[in-house]
Symmetry: none
Subunit: 330 residues, 2 copies
Amino acid sequence: MTVTNDDSAQYLIRTVSKRSGVKSDLVRAWERRYQAVTPTRTSGGHRVYTDQDIARLKLLNQATSNGHSIGQIAQLSLDDLKHLLKDETSSTNQSLSSSPISLTSGDKRHLAEDYSDKCYAAVLAFDAQLLESHFENAIVELGSEAFIEHLLSPLLTKIGERWKTGELRPVHEHMTSSVIRSLTYILRNNNPCPENAPRMIVSTPIGQLHELGALLAAIMAELCGWQVTYLGANLAAEEIAAAVKYTNACALTLSISFATDDHVVAKELRRLKKLVGNHVSLIVGGRAAGHFQSVLNEVGVMNIQSYTHFKQLLNQLATDYKATENKQLQ
Amino acid sequence: MTVTNDDSAQYLIRTVSKRSGVKSDLVRAWERRYQAVTPTRTSGGHRVYTDQDIARLKLLNQATSNGHSIGQIAQLSLDDLKHLLKDETSSTNQSLSSSPISLTSGDKRHLAEDYSDKCYAAVLAFDAQLLESHFENAIVELGSEAFIEHLLSPLLTKIGERWKTGELRPVHEHMTSSVIRSLTYILRNNNPCPENAPRMIVSTPIGQLHELGALLAAIMAELCGWQVTYLGANLAAEEIAAAVKYTNACALTLSISFATDDHVVAKELRRLKKLVGNHVSLIVGGRAAGHFQSVLNEVGVMNIQSYTHFKQLLNQLATDYKATENKQLQ
DNA sequence: CAAACCTTTACAAAACATAGACAAAAATTA
DNA sequence: TAATTTTTGTCTATGTTTTGTAAAGGTTTG
């Protein structure tokens, strides 16, 4: 994979506009007024852009929709822009006292484990306030990505296990879901998603009352640049399909964390497939997804194997989506 | 520890207002009169703020709503402000009771209606992003209290009605719940709740899947100075009772918005009463609460009649609670 | 030659700015 | 307690800046 800052990749303004989501006229206006990008020219005078220019315009577009004024940020470097969008999380939080020094991934993992223990203790003690406070601090210290990967994901797994052994009750899970749900606001601020981002619906099918897995999936997808509509738990196939239709989503993620012996889940999955058709990617994850393997195969859904697997899946689908979208536009 | 990074993060006043919860006019007034913040300017004279300015305004906003006079605290450092709020565990809950806002009440109501229409349109169009954006703006413009009373409360009623007529589907309600849930973070932020606040559990009994009412109750109680643990919908009596026990809550609010003919709700209510005993106030509200009137009477629960009724109830219970607590301490 | 691009100029809506006024709330004084 | 001053949030009026969009008319490209 070569990052081309050379002449090899050259685009005209129309392409740039489509890919970045900024209208042609506006691209020119931004150049004229703020020198936001400085494309080279053909001999005839047409603007010629590089991949970096596109990336730049994309970021600028995100940043403006996040509340920054274009005049103020147009001349920032690519790194500064990335930094700007990435740090939006920690800055919306009150505790500014923690230093933004970047930790190594090892440190982060250790720190995350530390937090994980504290958070689990708060869950066990049924202390919602304390739990939220730990989460807030962890997000600031770890950054949203590490927060998800090294803290939230393992924590939810642990909660699931302890729930099975009886150390935790359903109500613990409800409380935790509630706290995490209110945190999505901070997490989302990190990634203001552009207009043309691929859309996804996240929910759980009828009979599946546990929403922690779905919540995690939703947050992850948002951080990967998806525009997610989260619907909560326990929805009928028709309802979920309606949401897919309303939002024009190209992917649908379901979490199945409880193995039932009735045929509800299987039936719902089959109905869903029929309702949403083939152009919508069906993704299923969760502790008990394996229990329904045969149906999953039959219906043709993608089964999430792990944290990283889901992330890959998300990125893969996003690029696929963009490719087909570009094709349609041309 | 001073954080001096992010000269790059620059916002105009509208964004600052949205993030901090302080109206634009007031931001300027605070600057003019007390130099509470000292933004740089664009060449054209527009104010440009940093993330720290936003954090500062957020804190100042909290502190003023806690009873401090802006003139006295405007020039304190960030750390001092944090310290101030941290020690503020004994703030009296003046939030809902002391400000009847008679002067702009008409205007606010009008504004709220305006927003309400926009929000309902967003719900109908199934546009979660737009809905959230309207909510955010409304919170800044109306303030939390009017937001709840004149916007959220009637909006939820309307959604309930339209749901019955079939104009809206269950999935609309789920989406709306999800958006509102993530907003609780902002709403709560404006009203930090004291340590010794009375505690409350909010949920819905088994079979009651609609959580909008419960959500509204939870938000209201938080604004009234309660420390609320929200559990979401559809929980068994044992689970709810466990939460009450864990948190040592002195009140329990349930929302019942769907009239069923089976005896589940009645059974659950009886069991709950038995489980939590007499020292916990049982409060029930929601569209369909009247349908179970006989059980409510039998078990001895308080039935929410209206928005203002619930508010009175909350304040009454809070003062009662404080009285008995003081007695015990003496 | 048509489609796409260029530049320049203009326009309008939204957002900001300043200055000053006003009234409710809070503090102070009589 | 009543009258006063101060504080503080809000609003109005009027002008400017920012910013997205569009029109007009010429040029390049395939």
